[in-house]
């Protein structure tokens, strides 16, 4: 910073500039702290309130009737697994396929349209997708089901996986594709065994991120999977899910249910953080980096 001794206006300007510079630095640091504080607060509360309530009964029993102490969320944990399995079966192939189209075929106008639609679908509120699946499956079947919940979550996985797959495939050098084609390998084989294989670390990352995103999703499950107080392993029956159970318990008036809500939330977040952390490890080891 240039200073001219004796020039009052320059001195004043310089002071102002110094003050704004410091203020901006302090503001940015304060913003960083303020953003991270809620995160830490949420994790600390989850640990304090949830960890004490996770025991064998919680993990192996079904919910007790309202007002009675004890019981657990075993059926909800299994239900979440069931719904997520359906979601993955639907979402992962469609998402990866769409990503392959965007990267390998869709360089034209239709590709842009699909890319844009995928981004728009990513922004559609989850509850709206829930309504659509309700209209498609629940009304026709005439009852709520694990399958419809899985379909709703699967639809939500597609755009995330598609965009991640596209990004990763575009990072695969063209030389590799040309080498494969030059050896006489057909294009479908090149795409699946060469390009997709090279990009697999990134594609897996995308899938895990999509998985983590829908694992805690509650809104579309309210009127698709609906929830259940009992065991259910059938796809065409109403099913409990961790996120639904946490919601029901949190807004209930019973202290024991509040305690269990925290425990359920802790299990949910452990599931999700494990997925995200696994992604970190895979990407830091893999050949391709980019999706964080």
């Amino acid at each position: 910073m240039l200073k001219q001794p004796g020039d009052a206006s320059a001195q004043n300007l310089s002071l102002w500039r110094r003050v704004t510079d410091h203020a901006a630095t302090w503001f940015a640091m304060a913003a960083a702290v303020l953003v991270i504080v809620p995160l830490l607060a949420i994790f600390i509360y989850l640990l304090i309130k949830g960890a004490g309530s996770i025991n064998l009964a919680f993990l192996t029993q079904t919910p007790k009737p309202p007002g009675e102490l004890g019981g657990g969320m075993a059926n909800a944990i299994v239900g979440t697994g069931l719904i997520l399995a359906v979601a993955s079966v639907l979402g992962v192939p469609l998402g990866i396929g769409c990503g392959i189209y965007l990267a390998e075929y869709g360089r034209g106008r239709f590709g842009d349209l699909v890319r844009f639609t995928a981004d728009v679908l990513n922004g559609v509120p989850s509850i709206v997708i829930g309504i659509a699946v309700y209209g498609l499956i629940v009304i026709r079947q005439k009852h709520f089901s694990a399958f419809s919940g899985g379909v709703a979550l699967g639809v939500m996985m597609i755009p995330t996986i598609a965009r991640a797959t596209e990004e990763m495939l575009l990072m695969v050098p063209n030389v590799i594709r040309e080498a494969a084609l030059g050896l006489g390998i057909p294009k479908w084989r090149t795409t699946l065994s060469i390009s997709l294989r090279t990009a697999s670390a990134g594609v897996i990352t995308g899938c895990m991120l999509a998985f983590a995103r829908v694992a805690g999703e509650t809104a579309p499950l309210l009127f698709t999977a609906f929830g259940n107080q009992f065991w259910n392993l059938k796809l065409n029956q109403p099913t409990a899910a961790l996120s639904l159970q946490v919601f029901t318990y949190a807004i209930s008036p019973y202290d024991d249910w509040h305690r269990q809500a925290w425990a359920g939330a802790l299990i949910l977040i452990v599931l999700i953080v494990a997925a995200v952390a696994a992604v970190r490890i895979v990407t830091s080891r893999g050949t391709l980096k980019g999706v964080s």
Partner: protein, 371 residues
């Protein structure tokens, strides 16, 4: 280039050569004026023959049957791409179809009707639209300065070692499910607001009318704060991407003119990135408008239009979440779906706008919204 494409390319090449020699171009009786065209003709003929042999060889080594899997694969892939498009169209059609009853009954008056009375079959969405707009606006008011601040801190100020950690933490914020935000909001944030924040606001800013009335903790203010925490990671990560895209030479040029760091950020970085930042903010708005669970748990769920932020409210998404499974009667259900339709259209427009803005900056490759 793939084999089938190479084949078509070659055949097309020989096709053009044929055309050049065809009677359309050269009249059959016309003799070449000089010797040069004859030379050219033999040359093209030679190329043509070479191309034809190459083509034949490729065809021999790859019988037509080997092209079937390729064609099948590309059709399959095209089908998955169309499915994404079809899903969005299907969602829109479902919403329209299921809300037809209410659309006929109320028309546009639905959106400014203030009464929500399921018992008498009288439905107006105004309180929900108001609640959605106010809570989202409040969320942006809190989230925008904080997320731009944190993005600036990450890209321009913080030591490199901290950079990865802070961006990881911010992205982790996006991975927390909204039901957990809601849980935290009910049992931690709401009591905190009720005991400390709201009395303080009432004392200092009560005269504005925004901070008055009974303090429940749960209400519009709590919803705005929870929403702001949820949209910060979106706005921050897009802003960070856009700031990183600003060329280093811009920074160096402004610094070389004697600017302080803040002036460099303001003139060299933020000014260049402003369109992308606005895109990120609109994307955050899209998320805030459609957010359901956390808001439902802390907003109080009362269909009222109230000036005070302490008062409970209701949003479009949360009324669907709360009443959809309990809706008795076709009209009631239809009215709820119509709210869903409005929500869908608004978020569609908001997201499209945001994407176009972000794409114009980062060139279409970046712009993932959620971690």
């Amino acid at each position: 280039m793939s084999l089938p494409r190479a084949v078509t390319h070659l055949s097309r090449m020989s096709g053009t050569v044929n055309e050049m020699n065809s009677p359309d171009h050269f009249e059959p009786n016309q003799k070449p004026a000089t010797a040069i065209p004859t030379l050219a003709q033999t040359a093209t003929r030679r190329t043509q023959r070479a191309a034809a042999t190459a083509l034949q060889r490729i065809r021999q080594s790859h019988p037509p049957s080997s092209r079937i899997p390729d064609a099948a694969f590309s059709v399959l892939i095209l089908f998955t791409a169309i499915s994404v498009f079809a899903i969005v169209v299907f969602v829109a059609w479902q919403l329209y179809d299921k809300s037809r009853l209410s659309l006929h009954q109320f028309g546009l008056a639905f959106f400014y009707g203030r009464d929500w009375d399921p018992v008498n079959g009288d439905f107006g969405a105004m309180p929900f639209i108001y609640g959605t707009l106010v809570s989202s606006f409040l969320a942006l008011l809190i989230a925008v300065p904080l997320s731009v601040g944190v993005a600036v801190y990450i890209t321009e100020m913080c030591p490199i070692r901290l950079r990865a950690i802070i961006s990881f933490l911010v992205e982790l914020l996006a991975a927390i499910p909204s039901v957990i935000y809601g849980l935290w909001g009910i049992f931690v944030l709401a009591p905190l607001l009720r005991e400390y924040v709201e009395p303080f606001l009432a004392k200092t800013l009560g005269w504005t009318g925004f901070f008055s009335g009974p303090m429940y903790g749960i209400g519009m203010l709590a919803a705005g704060i929870i929403l702001s925490i949820m949209v910060i990671p979106i706005i921050a990560s897009i802003t960070r991407e856009v700031l990183t895209a600003v060329p280093q030479s811009q920074r160096e040029a402004v610094l070389a003119l004697g600017a302080t760091r803040w002036e460099m950020i303001r003139m060299g970085v933020l000014r260049n990135a402003r369109i992308g930042i606005v895109g990120g903010i609109i994307l955050g708005l899209g998320r805030a408008l459609g957010e359901t669970m956390a808001v439902t748990m802390v907003i109080g769920n009362r269909p009222e239009v109230s000036r005070s932020l302490f008062a409970p409210g209701y949003t479009m998404a949360s009324v669907i979440a709360n009443e959809f499974t309990e809706a008795t009667g076709d009209l009631y259900l239809s009215a709820l779906v119509q709210i869903g339709l409005a929500l869908f259209l608004v978020t569609l427009i908001v997201n499209a706008l945001a994407r176009l803005l972000v794409w114009s900056i980062t060139g279409g490759t970046a712009g993932r919204a959620r971690a």
